[in-house]
């Protein structure tokens, strides 16, 4: 025992200890971190895990994202969504239960939000050039010609056959408003099967965290300032949560002095013009966060607040064009504004 004591006194900088120091070994294992940085779903993604199986967990998470991209992307020719779109007006297409359920949920959100969320928006996005970055401002006649193709209620879903049909030729699905949220939920499920203590997931700015940080504290999740790319409007302190933000400040183009953002109003067939610069949804469901961040942005401030008051199964932060920040009362104790002189109104 004396010899063991002296041998340990010579150790420094090593995380490999004897079984006698079990708490130290556990701390060393809990401190192991692994990160996967990659591009998928047309965006940058970063997944970090802490724990004994951190590397295996992030590897599995990355593989899952790639799997979902191959299944859901409409820019990948043999994806299920591409097959559905290619068959528009020509009958049903058999799909996996996973894809069927996702489309079903998307249609449900379309109903719940009064059409503010609509996965049949693809023809409008193509018209404005947001699909291939050949941006243009279409004529109103062109918009009116494609608007009849935008209606989630027209999608024919056969649960028994697991088939999806777009009955009108030219209709097309774009799952950009739900896919990252779904991927985030799936990634968390998969990672939780590994021996990890915590994880931080950012899929194109859709942030999800679970478990305590390596130092035992809560995560600090900033919400981007829609007016300044290198700044943030506030910090949410939490864990086991997703924070998903929608805004027009990153994907847009300007023509003749007018800026057109990528978030479309399904009713008008043109970029949203509302009193909101960004909407952040705080929720445990990535799918809900993804769908509602777009929906509430389309709705505008008053309807967004009314929607929250009606549902109250999520929290949110709204940044208006007037520079005000509105936040739901559920995050009163966990959300802090960066600008102490700024206006923060809880509803």
């Amino acid at each position: 025992m004396v010899l063991l004591l002296f041998s340990l006194s010579g150790c420094s900088g090593s995380a490999t200890l004897t079984d006698a120091a079990t708490s130290s070994t556990a701390a060393a294992s809990a401190g192991k971190a692994a990160t996967a940085d990659f591009f998928a779903m047309n965006t940058y993604m970063s997944i970090t895990a802490n724990g004994t199986e951190a590397q295996a967990a992030v590897d599995a998470a990355q593989a899952e994202v790639y799997r979902l991209e191959n299944q859901l992307s409409r820019t990948i020719t043999d994806s299920e969504i591409s097959q559905i779109n290619a068959q528009s007006g020509n009958g049903p297409v058999s799909v996996s239960k996973e894809t069927f359920d996702m489309i079903l949920e998307a249609v449900s959100y379309s109903e719940k939000t009064g059409g503010a969320f609509d996965i049949t928006i693809a023809p409008v996005m193509d018209l404005w050039g947001f699909s291939d970055s050949n941006f243009r401002v279409p004529e109103q006649t062109e918009i009116l010609a494609v608007l009849p193709l935008v209606d989630s209620q027209k999608i024919i879903l056969d649960e028994a056959a697991l088939s999806v049909e777009l009955p009108v030729e030219g209709m097309a699905l774009d799952l950009g408003g739900i896919a990252k949220g779904y991927a985030s939920d799936k990634v968390q499920q998969i990672m939780s099967t590994y021996d990890i203590t915590s994880a931080l997931i950012s899929l194109g700015g859709n942030v999800a965290v679970f478990g305590p940080k390596a130092d035992g504290g809560l995560w600090k999740i900033a919400i981007s300032d829609p007016n300044a790319a290198d700044s943030y409007i506030g910090i949410l302190t939490a864990t086991d949560i997703s924070v998903i933000t929608s805004g027009g400040y990153e994907r847009n183009f300007t023509k003749d002095g007018v800026t057109y953002i990528h978030i479309m109003d399904p009713a008008l067939g043109s970029p949203v013009q509302s009193d909101l610069l960004s909407v952040s949804i705080i929720t445990q469901s990535g799918v809900q966060g993804d769908c509602l961040s777009t929906s509430l942005f389309v709705m505008g401030k008053d309807k967004a607040i009314a929607y929250w008051q009606e549902q109250q199964d999520f929290e949110c932060v709204l940044v208006t064009t007037a520079g005000e920040v509105f936040a739901s009362s559920g995050i009163k104790d966990t959300f802090t504004l960066t600008d102490e002189q700024g206006t923060l109104i809880f509803f």
Binding site: L5, S14, T22, S24, A27, V207, D215, A222, D230
Partner: protein, 166 residues
């Protein structure tokens, strides 16, 4: 020897007991012995834990910020922001375009880019661990990480935030 009576376990100068037998010490492991062993084990564990904690503290104290540039997931450039005394630039040629990274003491940014949307350039200076500037067209990520004295990425408790939702 005459004198006080000898215990059967006592021995005389010749090593003989009072019974005339060669004295062979007999060790019996008592509760006191067990207690001493436990005490030594606990002492050892406590010292080991203290040594480990001291080591961890020194790692945190030695941490510094580094800028890392990844192109298509592969690290192509890295610099220690804590030791820079002058401007440092790094040019990346990607496809038919490219970008330039600029690093100064304690901060780094994508200074110029030939990408169409310029989001990476508009991100501005990165000054805290966890911050990133992303150029999607060129599949390039510039990020700031906190690195410990052994070159491993470590948590930076002074970081402005852990992640940003955008």
């Amino acid at each position: 020897m005459r004198g006080y009576p000898m215990n059967i376990h006592q021995k005389n100068a010749a090593g003989l007991t009072s019974a005339g037998r060669k004295y062979k010490p007999q060790y019996r492991f008592t509760r006191w012995d067990a207690g001493v062993v436990v005490l030594i084990v606990l002492l050892t564990a406590g010292i080991a834990a203290w040594l480990f904690q001291t080591t961890q503290n020194s790692i945190t104290e030695d941490s510094h910020l580094e800028a890392v540039l990844l192109v298509s997931g592969k690290e192509v450039w890295r610099t220690d922001l804590s030791v820079l005394t002058s401007r440092e630039t790094y040019d990346v040629a990607v496809d038919e375009g490219g970008l330039t990274v600029l690093a100064e003491a304690g901060k780094v940014c994508i200074e110029t880019s030939q990408c169409p949307d310029q989001i990476c350039v508009h991100t501005g200076w990165l000054i805290s661990a966890g911050q990133t500037a992303v150029c999607l067209p060129y599949k390039t990520v510039l990020k700031v990480v906190s690195v410990d004295g052994q070159g491993s990425i470590t948590a930076d408790t002074s970081a402005l935030y852990d992640a940003i939702s955008r």
